[in-house]
C-alpha cells in the first residue's frame, strides 16, 4: 500500500516538474546564420522566458534532412529546398527568410587593396580555370588605374557542402552558360579547378596565406580577416561594393514568390550587389504541438521585425520592408 502511494506521489512529482520546466524548441541547419540566431535566442529569452531555443549548426543539408525526418522543430538552410525534397517531407514546409548575406570574392594580391573590378564572365572563367593569370587582359582592361602583379591565379573553394557555395554557384550558373552546363549548382559541386578549404574559415585561410589566391567567402569573414574583396559588376552594368546596404537592395524590386523560394543573385536592381542570398528557416504549416507552434510563430514574428536591428552589427543584411510584410502574411497561415 505504502509502495503504491509513493509511486503515485513520485509520478505526480515528475509531471509537476515537467510542467514547471521551460519548453525546449529544437532547430538545426545552416552554419552561416548561426551567429545571429544565437544572438536572437539570447535576446528573446528575456522577452519570453517560457520558450528556450536550441540550435545545432550542422549545415544546410543537415537542416533539411532533420526537419524532413521530424527530429527537430524547425530547420534552417541557405539553399532553398527542391521540389523533390519538399515532396518527400511528411507535411507542407514553409520557407521563412530571416536575413540576407553577401558572398564576396576575396583575393590576395600584393599591392592591390579591396575594390578590384571584376565582370561576371571573368569571375566565371576564373573559376572554370580558363583565366589562369592575373595579368590577363580581361582583368587589366577594367582595372586600368591599378597595378596588378603578373601572378598565376590560385582558386580556392569550399571542400564541404555549404549554402555559401550554393549562392556562389547559383550566381555562376546565372551568368555563365558553360558553368551551368559543365558544373551546375548545388551545395557541393565538381569544381573544375582549385584548392578546397573546410568552412568559410578554410577558404579565408587559403586566400590569406597564398599570394595570388582568389576565393569566395561570406562578407563577414572577409571583413573580419581584413581580406580585400572585389567589386563585381551587376546586371545593370555597375561595379558594386558588397556592403550591407547593397545586399539588402538585391531583394528590393525582385518579384518574390509567395513561397519565398527565390534566388536573388544577379538582381536587376541597379544598386544591388549581385551575389546575395536569403537564409531561410523551415517550419511546417501544420504544427503538431499547439504550445510549441505558437512559440515558434511568435519568435519568427519578433525576429523579422525587432530582431532585424541586430543584423548590422553582426554583418548581416536586414530584410527589406516589403519582404517583411509578405512574411507577416505567411506566418498567419501557420496552424497550431
Amino acid at each position: 500500500m505504502l509502495k503504491k502511494i509513493s509511486v503515485i506521489l513520485a509520478a505526480l512529482g515528475v509531471t509537476a516538474t515537467a510542467f514547471a520546466a521551460p519548453m525546449l524548441i529544437n532547430g538545426a541547419g545552416a552554419t552561416f546564420p548561426y551567429p545571429i540566431y544565437s544572438k536572437w535566442f539570447d535576446v528573446y529569452q528575456s522577452i519570453n522566458p517560457d520558450a528556450r531555443f536550441n540550435y545545432q549548426s550542422i549545415g544546410s543539408g543537415g537542416g533539411i534532412k532533420q526537419i524532413t525526418a521530424g527530429t527537430v522543430d524547425f530547420g534552417a538552410s541557405d539553399g532553398p529546398m527542391t521540389d523533390q525534397q519538399l515532396a518527400d517531407a511528411p507535411g507542407r514546409l514553409f520557407h521563412i527568410p530571416m536575413v540576407m548575406g553577401a558572398v564576396v570574392a576575396a583575393y590576395n594580391l600584393p599591392g592591390v587593396d579591396k575594390g578590384l573590378k571584376l565582370t561576371p564572365d571573368v569571375v566565371a572563367d576564373i573559376f572554370l580555370g580558363k583565366i589562369t593569370k592575373w595579368s590577363d587582359p580581361r582583368i587589366v582592361s577594367v582595372n586600368s588605374n591599378r597595378q596588378i602583379p603578373d601572378m598565376p591565379i590560385i582558386v580556392a573553394h569550399r571542400s564541404d557542402g555549404s549554402g555559401t557555395t550554393f549562392i556562389w554557384v547559383d550566381y555562376l550558373s546565372n551568368v555563365s552558360g558553360e558553368w551551368k552546363l559543365k558544373t551546375g549548382k548545388g551545395t557541393s559541386v565538381n569544381w573544375p579547378v582549385g584548392l578546397g578549404g573546410k568552412g568559410n574559415e578554410g577558404v579565408a585561410g587559403i586566400v590569406k596565406q597564398t599570394p595570388g589566391a582568389i576565393g569566395y567567402v561570406e562578407l563577414s569573414y572577409a571583413i573580419k580577416n581584413n581580406l580585400p574583396y572585389a567589386f563585381i559588376q551587376n546586371k545593370s552594368g555597375n561595379f558594386i561594393e558588397p556592403t550591407i546596404e547593397s545586399t539588402s537592395k538585391a531583394a528590393a524590386g525582385v518579384s518574390i514568390p509567395s513561397d519565398f523560394r527565390v534566388s536573388i543573385v544577379n538582381s536587376p536592381n541597379p544598386e544591388a550587389y549581385p551575389v546575395s542570398g536569403f537564409t531561410w528557416i523551415l517550419v511546417y504549416k501544420n504544427q503538431s504541438d499547439p504550445v510549441k507552434g505558437k512559440a515558434i510563430v511568435d519568435f519568427l514574428k519578433w525576429a523579422v521585425h525587432d530582431g532585424q536591428q541586430y543584423a548590422d552589427s553582426l554583418l548581416y543584411a536586414p530584410l527589406p520592408e516589403d519582404v517583411v510584410a509578405m512574411i507577416d502574411k505567411k506566418l498567419q497561415e501557420i496552424k497550431y
Partner: protein, 314 residues
C-alpha cells in the same frame, strides 16, 4: 582432478564473450556499411572503383582519385617515417644514455598523443608556408626533371600531407621498434661481437633477423593509422579531386571526402556514395594489412627454407 569451480567457468565464459564482441562489432560495421551503400553499389557497380569523377550535382561518383590519394600519401609518409623511426629506435635502445632514452621516449609518446586537429593547425600555419617558400622551390629547382617535383607549388598538397602523416606515424614505429630491440637477448649480440662484427654490423644483422616481425608489426600499425587519418590530412592536402603524378599537386583522400561532405550530403544517392567510400576505405585497410602479412610470411618461409638448406649441408 579438475574441480568444477563456478568462478572459473564464469571467468572463461566472460572472456570468451568479450572476444566474441569484437567479431560482432566488426561484422556489424561491415553489415551496416554495406546496407547503407546499396543504392550506390547498385547504380555504379564495380566501375565505382575505377571512375575518376566526383560530381554531386549530376550524381556521378567514383572513388579512384580518393583511393590514389590515400595510398600515395600513406606510402610516401611510410617512406619518410621508416628510416627516421628505425634510426631513432636503434639510437634510443643501443647508444643513448638512460636519461636521454627516458626523456626522448616521453616526448615520443607525447607526439603520439597530440590530436589530429592540432597537427592540422600546425601544418597550416607553420609547415605549409615553409613548404611553399623554401622546400618546394628547392625541390623543383634541383629535382624538377623528375615528374614528382613538377608543377605549381601551392604549399598545400600531397607532399605536405605526407610529411604531416610521417610526423604522426613516426612515434608508433619508434615505440614498437625500441621495445623489440631492447628485447633482443644479450647473448645474440655477444655472439655477433665474438664473430668479429663491428657495432653497427652486429646491430643490423640481429635486428633484421630477430626483431623483424615485431618491427614490421609496428610499421603495419603505423600504416593503418596513416590510411585512416582524417583531420590533419584534410586541412593540408588541398582537397582537389584529381590524380596527378606530381607530389606538389593537391589531392584528396577517402577519409577526407567523408569528413568534408557527409553532413551536408543532400540526396540519398550522394549519401550512399559517401558510405560506399567508407566501405572502400575499410577494404583498403584490410587489403594493405593482408598484403603486408603475406609479405612477412613469405620472407619467413624463405628464411626457414634457407636455414633448412644450410642444416642439410652440414
Amino acid at each position: 582432478m579438475s574441480r568444477k569451480d563456478t568462478g572459473d567457468i564464469v571467468f572463461r565464459r566472460l572472456m570468451m564473450f568479450f572476444a566474441c564482441m569484437i567479431l560482432v562489432i566488426v561484422a556489424g560495421i561491415l553489415f551496416e556499411l554495406t546496407r547503407s551503400s546499396l543504392p550506390s553499389i547498385r547504380k555504379f557497380g564495380f566501375s565505382f572503383l575505377f571512375t575518376s569523377t566526383w560530381d554531386p550535382v549530376f550524381e556521378k561518383f567514383g572513388a579512384l582519385p580518393f583511393i590514389y590519394g590515400t595510398l600515395l600519401s600513406s606510402f610516401v609518409a611510410l617512406l619518410l617515417a621508416i628510416p627516421i623511426g628505425l634510426g631513432t629506435a636503434i639510437y634510443l635502445a643501443e647508444y643513448s644514455p638512460w636519461w636521454v632514452r627516458n626523456t626522448v621516449s616521453l616526448l615520443v609518446d607525447l607526439l603520439a598523443a597530440i590530436p589530429s586537429v592540432v597537427y592540422g593547425l600546425w601544418g597550416i600555419f607553420v609547415l605549409v608556408p615553409i613548404m611553399r617558400n623554401h622546400v618546394e622551390p628547392f625541390l623543383g629547382k634541383y629535382f624538377g626533371f623528375l615528374p614528382f617535383f613538377q608543377g605549381p607549388q601551392y604549399g598545400v598538397g600531397m607532399i605536405s600531407a605526407s610529411l604531416i602523416l610521417a610526423v604522426m606515424i613516426v612515434p608508433f614505429i619508434i615505440s614498437v621498434s625500441r621495445e623489440v630491440i631492447l628485447a633482443v637477448p644479450q647473448v645474440y649480440k655477444e655472439s655477433a661481437y665474438a664473430m668479429g662484427a663491428t657495432r653497427w654490423e652486429a646491430l643490423i644483422s640481429i635486428i633484421l633477423s630477430y626483431g623483424r616481425s615485431g618491427i614490421i608489426g609496428g610499421i603495419i600499425l603505423a600504416l593503418g593509422r596513416a590510411i585512416g587519418e582524417t583531420m590533419a590530412v584534410t586541412m593540408i592536402i588541398g582537397n582537389n579531386v584529381k590524380i596527378s603524378a606530381s607530389l606538389f599537386s593537391p589531392g584528396y583522400t577517402l577519409a577526407s571526402v567523408i569528413a568534408n561532405e557527409f553532413t551536408e550530403a543532400t540526396s540519398d544517392l550522394y549519401l550512399s556514395a559517401l558510405v560506399e567510400i567508407g566501405l572502400v576505405l575499410l577494404f583498403v585497410s584490410i587489403f594493405v594489412n593482408v598484403i603486408a602479412r603475406i609479405l612477412i610470411w613469405s620472407v619467413q618461409q624463405k628464411q626457414l627454407s634457407g636455414m633448412k638448406a644450410k642444416l642439410q649441408a652440414i
